[in-house]
């Protein structure tokens, strides 16, 4: 049964149905999503986190949004008039809510827990929203709330374009502020206290209700004003990121850790590390078209090199400065790339993906093994790695190390750009476009792929070196296949072959999930959903490479 609920929510076939049937169908889809959300345990977990203090929890918000979307879609049907559209939305909302009611009733009436562990009385209690568990009142209120939320969704869709957009902007602002409470709260802490102690914007978990209302109207007003201005200038209100957007983004990347707390700096640091790796893989995959799932191996080579050279622990083979170890790490990673690259690069496409996956796993298993543990520490890793020193300063805090990673990322971006616009970069692109033709033009495919692979590996080695210095210890557990998959996903989400895309991808896939770290058990579930959704909505990535964009406009 559970599988049917999961799959049925995806079966969106485009058949002509009567509007009412369509509304019921949408309601059922939303209901299935709600039930799945509850049954995987996400509802209970997220119910502990408030978005608006004492008013709305994260799971309630998510549920409301699902129904909101269903109502929005139900009312979008162009065939029906406003009242009919609103009625459709209400129906969809009622149905969706009713699905949850049925779930609550089932939980209490039948023992589902032998199969579905999350179908607990606690879940039923949470879904009863304060009423007596599974009482008539509790069961009846869910469809009503659903209908209301769907109605709002429909209304927002039926508003004049500007107003609707403003409402959505306001909503988005409140949700963002509530979700990323920790970031904004830490920023506010650094500002002089303007609002006074009794008017705190944030409670212990989320926005305070008053602040939420104020924020909603502020953001909505801002959106309205911006649209007006844009219209006045004769432009179409733009969506998506533009050149000023890029400048803003970079400014944010550079400055954010300064105005918030160590945690944000730490996350930014991880984002910068993944950017480094992403740019390495971008050379391999984005430019040369080599799918590499063993990328983490070079990250490991860099990290272990620094660990062995800079540790004061028992396994150290030297105790030199980080600045000496860094180039060594980069060179060794590059050499490793060359050694692995040579044999595997004659393989193409998915085969290459599997061959590199195999190589990455081989490296991990070897590093972990008892056979090599006298040299690499096995599962105990290498500890007591010194932090880098710069003019007598020990780069120890997340902020300092973040800037170290950022500077390296800048250098790597510069090198990438230079190479892209040189003979070798053109050769890579040509190889990606049509390997046979490129070869017939005199490009040695193995040599140029090998160079791409080597350079990519070198960048990953640099990331690994910083990683070791940041954590102060390295363990084989940090070099799982997941890291390679993460980097690959960053590239695809950001836009293959696009440097700004790497930045955006790293922020979206590494930065945002980190801020929701407390829901770690659902991290990869949402990660998976995000990957799939992204491919459907915007397969070319959030910030596609310039030429791809040009192509879209021109054709």
């Amino acid at each position: 049964m559970s599988f049917n609920t999961v799959t049925s929510s995806f079966k969106v076939t485009r058949r002509r149905r009567s509007p009412l049937m369509e509304a019921v169908r949408l309601g059922l889809i939303a209901g299935a999503a709600l039930v799945a959300f509850a049954l995987i345990g996400a509802y209970s977990a997220m119910d502990k986190r408030a978005v608006i203090e004492g008013t709305v929890t994260l799971s309630q918000l998510a549920s409301l949004l699902i129904v909101f979307a269903a109502g929005h879609v139900a009312a979008r049907d162009a065939r029906s008039g406003t009242s009919a559209a609103l009625l459709n939305a209400v129906v969809a909302g009622l149905v969706a809510g009713a699905c949850l009611s049925v779930l609550v009733w089932l939980i209490m009436a039948v023992n589902l827990r032998t199969t579905l562990v999350a179908a607990s009385p606690a879940l039923a209690k949470a879904l009863s929203l304060g009423a007596r568990i599974a009482s008539l009142e509790a069961l009846a209120q869910l469809p009503l709330i659903g209908a209301a939320s769907a109605l709002v969704g429909a209304l927002v869709g039926r508003l004049p374009a500007g107003a609707g957009k403003a409402a959505l902007t306001g909503l988005a602002a409140v949700i963002t502020a509530g979700l990323f409470r920790d970031v904004f709260a830490s920023m506010l802490e650094r500002l002089p206290d303007l609002t006074g102690p009794d008017h705190e914007v944030f409670g212990s978990a989320g926005l305070n209700p008053g602040a939420a209302v104020a924020l909603f109207f502020l953001a909505a007003a801002f959106a309205l004003v911006r649209d007006r201005l844009a219209l006045k200038r004769g432009g179409v209100p733009r969506s998506g990121l533009s050149r000023p957007g890029l400048v803003l983004l970079i400014a944010g990347v550079v400055l954010l850790p300064l105005v918030t707390n160590d945690f944000v700096a730490q996350v930014a640091m991880l984002v910068a590390l993944y950017m480094l790796m992403g740019m390495g893989l971008n050379i391999e995959l984005g430019l040369a078209g080599l799918v590499d799932l063993g990328f983490v191996a070079f990250f490991a080579v860099g990290a272990y090199t620094v660990a062995l050279l800079c540790s004061s622990g028992p396994l150290a083979i030297a105790d030199v400065s980080f600045w000496v170890a860094l180039p060594v790490a980069i060179v060794l990673a590059a050499v490793a790339g060359m050694i692995f690259g040579l044999p595997v690069l004659r393989v193409r496409g998915d085969y290459l993906a599997m061959a590199t996956l195999g190589l990455g796993e081989i490296i991990r298993v070897l590093v972990l093994s008892d056979a090599l543990s006298p040299y690499l520490g096995g599962s105990q890793g290498i500890i007591e790695i010194d932090h880098p020193r710069l003019f007598g300063w020990e780069l120890k805090s997340p902020v300092a190390l973040y800037y170290l990673a950022l500077v390296l990322a800048g250098v790597v971006a510069f090198v990438s750009l230079r190479l892209q616009n040189a003979k070798i970069g053109r050769a890579w692109l040509a190889m990606r476009e049509d390997e046979d033709v490129a070869q017939a033009l005199g490009i040695d495919p193995v040599a140029s792929k090998l160079l791409a692979y080597t350079i990519g590996a070198a960048f990953a080695g640099a990331a690994g070196a910083v990683f070791a210095a940041l954590i102060g210890s390295v363990y084989p557990h940090s070099f799982q296949l997941l890291v390679s998959i993460n980097v690959l996903a960053i590239l695809v989400i950001g836009g293959l072959g696009s440097l700004p895309g790497v930045l955006v991808g790293a922020i979206v896939l590494i930065g945002l999930p980190e801020l929701l770290r407390e829901f770690g058990e659902f991290r990869y579930l949402f990660y998976g959903i995000a990957l799939v959704a992204m491919m459907h909505v915007r397969a070319e990535g959030l910030w596609p490479a310039a030429y791809a964009k040009e192509g879209v406009h021109a054709s």
Binding site: L419, R426, A440, L441, G442, I443, D444, A554
Partner: protein, 286 residues
């Protein structure tokens, strides 16, 4: 360093054979292309012309036989090494780098001419910049040479078909080949474009001194530019000679006619083209 004697064959093919599984595509192909000449290969569809091309440019590995360019064996070498010996080609169904611009396509064609190293590129040294600048100028020059100077900044995939063909020729020429191999360059062209193509091929041979081998169905074009013609039929060479000899050869006409009756979709042009080409040829010779 490779100075070709005008009379010596630039390309020598001996006993070339290629089989795909059990199917023999070509066999016993002997071919001599004189340096500085324009040599056409004609024949009905499926006669093995493109397979021979692919063997010469190392796109496929020959099953037997040997290929020599200016006395050096090139069969069995990887395609990029063959390219470095000085063979450039175009493709029956244009194969550009669709997501790269015109100038980028031509720049890729200069790959083996450019000397700046990887480190020079990263550091942006003077030599690198000079070379890049010169390469761009050269690329523009060749775009101009083939007649599409205005396409430099367009994505290859957005260009009209005729321009794509020209771009492909520019990309092949820019690497200073000794021999240019054109696979049906006039396919899909109207008579005007065909004439321009003839002119272009003449200039390639005349101004650049590049030997040209072409596969072509448009007899008008073939008879206008070729000095020698090799006729393929059913995987083997039927005959070889000057345009005049070929036009007089009964077997050639029979081969075309014979194929025509047995085949569903051959090139419609040849039958009418063979006689119609004669005035053009005479005009050229005069």
């Amino acid at each position: 360093m490779h100075r070709e004697r005008k009379d010596a064959p630039l390309l020598q093919v001996r006993g070339l054979r290629k089989a795909f599984g059990g199917v023999v595509a070509i066999q016993n192909v002997d071919l001599d292309v004189a340096a500085g000449s324009v040599h056409a290969i004609i024949g009905p569809n499926g006669a093995g012309k493109t397979t021979a091309f692919n063997c010469i440019t190392a796109f496929v590995k020959p099953t037997g036989g040997r290929i020599m360019l200016a006395g050096e064996r090139i069969d069995g070498l990887p395609a990029h090494v063959v390219a470095r010996h000085g063979i450039a080609r175009t493709y029956q169904n244009v194969r550009l780098f669709p997501n790269m611009t015109g100038i980028e396509n031509v720049l890729v064609g200069q790959h083996r001419r450019l000397r700046a190293t990887f480190w020079e590129a990263i550091l942006g040294t003077g030599r690198f910049r000079r070379e890049e600048k010169e390469a761009r100028e050269r690329a523009l020059h060749y775009l101009d040479f083939v007649g599409i100077p205005h396409r430099a900044q367009h994505l290859a995939r957005n260009m009209p078909y005729g321009d794509q063909r020209r771009l492909e020729i520019a990309r092949a020429l820019v690497g200073d080949p000794r021999m240019l191999m054109l696979d049906e360059p006039a396919a899909g062209m109207n008579p005007t474009e065909g004439r321009l193509l003839v002119e272009l091929i003449e200039r390639v041979r005349g101004e650049l001194g590049v030997t040209v081998v072409l596969i072509e169905h448009h007899m008008r074009v073939v008879m206008a530019v070729a000095e020698r013609i090799t006729v393929f039929d059913r995987g083997a060479i039927l005959t070889e000679g000057t345009p005049g000899e070929i036009q007089a050869d009964e077997r050639v006409i029979a081969a075309y006619l014979g194929r025509r009756s047995g085949q569903t979709g051959p090139a419609p042009e040849p039958i009418h083209a063979v006689p119609a080409a004669i005035p053009t040829l005479e005009a050229r010779l005069a």
